[in-house]
């Protein structure tokens, strides 16, 4: 479709969606231009999703494949659920970036290369023995060779910028070019550059010049036939912001503190990819947030437990390796029955694994990774903005049942972004804390006393009294306690009772009207296949299911956002569908749980590459399952 917009004679092709990947060396500023392009597109009104991908090393050897950093953004005029399968456009700033990303392209894709980065040395560093621009490697693609570096140098020369500094603006040249190609208004970008680099006028001017040069190059080079236009998406009315999972999680925790009236204490130890939650919360002092960077992961959990005992909304955040270390404190929190939220931003393991890559491999650790019978609720976010809802839900459950809760996100959610429609804060449901402020039991001799383990008959939650209240002094510890009094007890019957009570308390959440269902359903009458997933794979599975339906298949989708207790309806769904497939980024952790619960032959689709599923690949594998 071709259209002309008023005020310009240039023809614009209308597209429904495009997936663009910016790729370069870690030092090339690809994350920055990706972020900026995303922000522009969000402001323009597109629906979108992003997928940053960068090496764990701060600066891997320049020019090598290991040092490639990329940022993929999917923008559309309709509903977006994933960052896109394969890029339609790859911007490659050097040969390594080309080499690292080429295999993700499908024939017909557009490749924009910075030819200035393709001399013999660059090619060798990237591991090319012949020049891919000449040896036919790129025959299947539409290739634009743009001298990005030299044009940037030219554009910045009149400013008298040093060559090395000028070269660093080349990412803005690339951004300017892409903005022209996809008709993005650049005014907000200019303002952003002016604000961000206000204190460094030379850098500011060089970036602005590079941006303009990139745009002008698109317009005048006659390399490109015409720019494309992607209309704003018809999102529900409201005010939106573009948000990533880590920020969303931090905001959710602040909201939970406001809604419960409990002060937020966040204790954490630096770890990729969870650290940004600590950074975000550390900035928010005006909300009364108390953050502490603990001496280690164990201390972070211990501090959170101490804070919980003292009446905070206590949270500790980490990533897989840190969750290993927090296990003992989680066990104590289960035994003390204190509210606490433990955030695990999952990453590829085992051990250090691949810190910046995503996986869903901590599910069984979250469910079972403690000695003794130590059950606790586990919830998982399904998209970046859903981290807000999940943080609220985790806090609500923790406070309601006086229990530690594990909240699972992952690297994909942490750094990926999507538009989020701002809720009306006054419409958010308050979190009822229900503190005990006076003696709650009468001794046989008529004395009023405080029993810390007196339970609410419906939720089975124990009473929670905070230090400072006269007459309610109590001592609690990790040694088994007598139900009711909370005194130390080694009695066999009491221990049996307490072990079962702690499990029953978690199970009671499954029927608790205050607690969310934990299940996103998209069912279809007469479906041949039920696809089950959990957490961050929601977008990819949703996309795959849409494709299968478009191809005429009858497919139902059930997505879990709570893994313990499992939503009640789930087992029914598992046994009533002819075929059940569980798709997850591990070797079958939920699949096993589902088989155990339903005694069905639940099939598994698994991927452990450190990358999220693509909807296309998932649809292909689901179609295979349907054919069997």
């Amino acid at each position: 479709m071709t259209t002309t917009t008023s005020g310009t004679e240039i023809a614009q092709h209308l597209l429904d969606r495009v997936v663009i990947r910016f790729a370069g060396d870690s030092g090339d500023g690809m994350q920055l231009v990706g972020d900026r392009f995303t922000e522009l597109s969000a402001l323009f009104g597109n629906d979108l999703a992003t997928l940053p991908d960068y090496p764990a090393e701060i600066r891997a050897p320049a020019g090598t494949v290991a040092g490639v950093s990329s940022f993929q953004v999917h923008i559309s005029s309709s509903d977006v659920v994933t960052p896109g399968d394969a890029p339609n456009v790859l911007v490659a700033m050097n040969p390594a970036a080309l080499r690292a990303n080429l295999h993700d392209l499908t024939p017909g894709a557009t490749v924009i290369v910075n030819v200035d980065g393709f001399d013999a040395r660059d090619l060798t560093k990237a591991g090319y023995t012949t020049d891919p621009l000449e040896d036919g490697t790129l025959d299947a693609f539409t290739v634009y060779e743009v001298p990005v570096t030299s044009l940037t140098l030219q554009a910045t020369e009149p400013l008298g910028v040093k060559r090395r500094d000028a070269e660093r603006s080349k990412n803005f040249f690339a951004l300017g070019l892409i903005c022209w190609m996809y008709t993005r208004p650049t005014r907000p970008l200019v303002e952003w550059i002016e604000g961000r680099f206000a204190s460094r006028p030379t850098v500011r001017d060089a970036n602005l010049a590079a941006l303009r040069a990139g745009r002008n190059f698109g317009e005048t080079a006659e390399l490109f036939d015409h720019p494309f236009r992607i209309e704003p998406a018809s999102l529900p009315p409201g005010t939106y912001t573009n948000i990533n999972g880590n920020t969303a999680l931090a905001w959710g925790l602040i909201a939970a503190a406001e809604l419960s009236g409990l002060p937020l204490v966040y204790a954490s130890y630096p770890i990729t990819p969870a650290s940004d939650i600590l950074h975000e919360l550390s900035r928010r002092k005006r909300f009364g947030v108390r953050t502490i960077q603990a001496e280690d992961e164990i201390a972070a959990a211990s501090i959170a437990l101490g804070a919980a005992f003292s009446g905070a909304l206590a949270v500790t955040g980490t990533s897989g390796p840190g969750l290993d270390l927090k296990a003992e404190m989680l066990g104590l929190a289960v035994s003390l029955e204190l509210p606490m939220v433990v955030v695990d931003v999952q990453r590829a393991g085992p051990s250090t694994g691949m810190p910046t890559k995503t996986e869903q491999t901590d599910l069984l650790l979250a469910l079972h990774g403690r000695h003794g019978e130590a059950p606790l609720p586990v919830v998982a976010a399904r998209s970046p903005s859903h981290c807000i809802d999940t943080a609220l839900e985790a806090a609500r459950i923790a406070v309601r049942s006086r229990t530690p809760v594990i909240l699972l996100t992952d690297g994909y959610l942490a750094n990926g972004t999507e538009p989020w429609r701002l809720p009306d804060p006054s419409a958010l449901t308050p979190i009822d804390v229900d503190l005990t402020t006076e003696e709650n039991h009468t001794d046989p001799d008529g004395r009023r006393v405080y029993w810390p383990y007196l339970r609410d008959p419906a939720t089975l939650a124990r009473s929670w009294a905070l230090p400072g209240v006269p007459g309610l002094q109590h001592r609690i510890g990790g040694i088994e306690k007598q139900d009711g009094t909370g005194n130390i007890s080694y009695q066999p019957e009491n221990h049996e009772r307490m072990v079962r009570l702690r499990r029953a308390k978690i199970d009671a959440l499954g029927t608790d009207p205050v607690v969310a269902s934990g299940l996103e359903l998209d069912l279809q009458d007469g479906a041949d296949l039920l696809v089950v997933g959990w957490g961050s794979t929601w977008g990819a599975i949703t996309g795959a299911v849409r494709r299968l339906r478009d191809d005429g298949h009858r497919v139902a989708q059930a997505h879990l956002t709570r893994l313990d207790p499992l939503p009640l309806q789930l087992v029914d769904l598992l046994v009533t569908h002819p075929k059940v497939v569980c798709a997850e980024l591990n070797l079958g952790q939920l699949t096993g749980v589902l088989r155990d619960r339903s005694l069905r032959d639940v099939r598994g689709i698994h991927q452990v590459s450190g990358l999220p599923f693509t909807a296309r690949e998932l649809a292909r594998r689901l179609a295979e399952e349907l054919d069997q």
Partner: protein, 346 residues
């Protein structure tokens, strides 16, 4: 700080020892030094004029760590080694409370060494009592990080080859602002030291020599036998020359290598005796005092080694929050959600 308790505190008119005693039966071995330490603590606490409900006792695991159960205060019996970190969470959340940490030498210097160091470094307002009996009691008699080289225990049948920690040196090295040592055979001294440790605003570390009569009986006898005390305990008194002995005939002085030496006052010279100054900003002399005795078999200083002021962690956290609220107003969710770029869809 918002009062989240829902209730205002009420201070009883006159506090007594009984106000701090819980109804739980004491479960230490008969003759254990812990009894005397608990008694000294419960006798001293009423003097502080802080009602029991405004106190929290936090412990880890070990014989000493049972102490919170016997206190009619709020208490957490947590995990081996973690008490200083758990207590940090309490203090950070509720600077209004009086927070105590009780543990043993294995608890605090072995498995929990790291947490102790960082609680001291941060200067969290905690009163930390480390009951040192140089042995693992609860697990029935293995050597601890304060046991001497050569110590024969169940896990070191040929004698320990581990070099021990000197707890006072460790605390001073960790930038502690209050460091003291006392022992379970002198109730008055314990009460005095506990009170001063509590009154110190910031992290206070007290090493208490404690006899484990079952697994390490008499570990401190060389110092604490009644007849040995005058010649073996070097009492530290602020502003006074450091001297000891029945007649004050022994003393401590600096030598030409900036080390402290013990000797007869007659030999050292009265005017060369070290004048103890708890408040010296530099911890070097306090550290030198802690090095006088490598083990409790030679003359050993007791009392307050160091008592200085430094900003307290949770106060600084509160100050930053208050300053931000003062400067830009209390944050609202409305404003938080709009803190990034936003756009509107009609």
């Amino acid at each position: 700080m918002t009062d989240v308790r829902g209730v205002r505190g009420v201070t009883p008119v006159e506090l007594t020892r009984k106000d701090f005693m819980s109804d739980q039966e004491l479960r230490w071995c008969p003759g254990c030094g812990d009894y005397g330490i608990l008694a000294a603590l419960q006798l001293m606490l009423p003097e502080l004029d802080i009602p029991p409900h405004e106190m929290v006792f936090v412990s880890g695991i070990g014989c000493a760590a049972r102490l919170p159960y016997y206190m009619n205060t709020y208490g957490v019996h947590s995990i081996h080694g973690r008490a200083p970190a758990v207590a940090t969470g309490v203090a950070l959340t509720r600077p209004d409370l009086s927070v105590w940490v009780i543990g043993g030498d294995g608890d605090m210097l072995s498995i929990g060494g790291n947490h102790l160091l960082h609680a001291l470094r941060r200067n969290v307002d905690l009163t930390i009592l480390m009951l040192n009996n140089q042995i693992y009691g609860l697990t029935k008699g293995q050597y601890s990080p304060t046991s001497g080289v050569g110590k024969v225990t169940k896990s070191t049948p040929f004698g320990s080859v581990d070099h021990p920690f000197n707890p006072v040196s460790v605390a001073l090295g960790a930038e502690a602002t209050f460091v003291a040592r006392t022992h379970d055979t002198d109730r008055n001294h314990m009460q005095e030291i506990f009170r001063r440790a509590h009154d110190h605003h910031g992290a206070a570390f007290v090493e208490v020599y404690q006899n484990c009569n079952v697994f390490n009986d008499g570990a401190f006898d060389d110092l604490l036998r009644r007849d040995a005390r005058p010649d073996m305990l070097i009492p530290l008194r602020h502003g006074e020359p450091v001297r000891f002995g029945a007649e004050g005939q022994r003393g401590v002085a600096l030598n030409e290598f900036a080390e402290l030496v013990v000797g007869d006052v007659d030999d050292l010279g009265e005017d060369r005796l070290l004048i103890h100054d708890e408040h010296r900003p530099d911890a070097t002399l306090a550290f030198a005092l802690s090095r006088l005795a490598a083990d409790p078999h030679t003359p050993t200083p007791i009392g307050v080694f160091r008592d200085v002021r430094r900003p307290v962690y949770e106060d600084e956290v509160s100050t930053q929050i208050e300053a931000e609220v003062e400067r830009r107003g209390r944050g609202t969710l409305e404003e938080l959600f709009r803190s990034g770029a936003t756009w509107t869809v009609d």
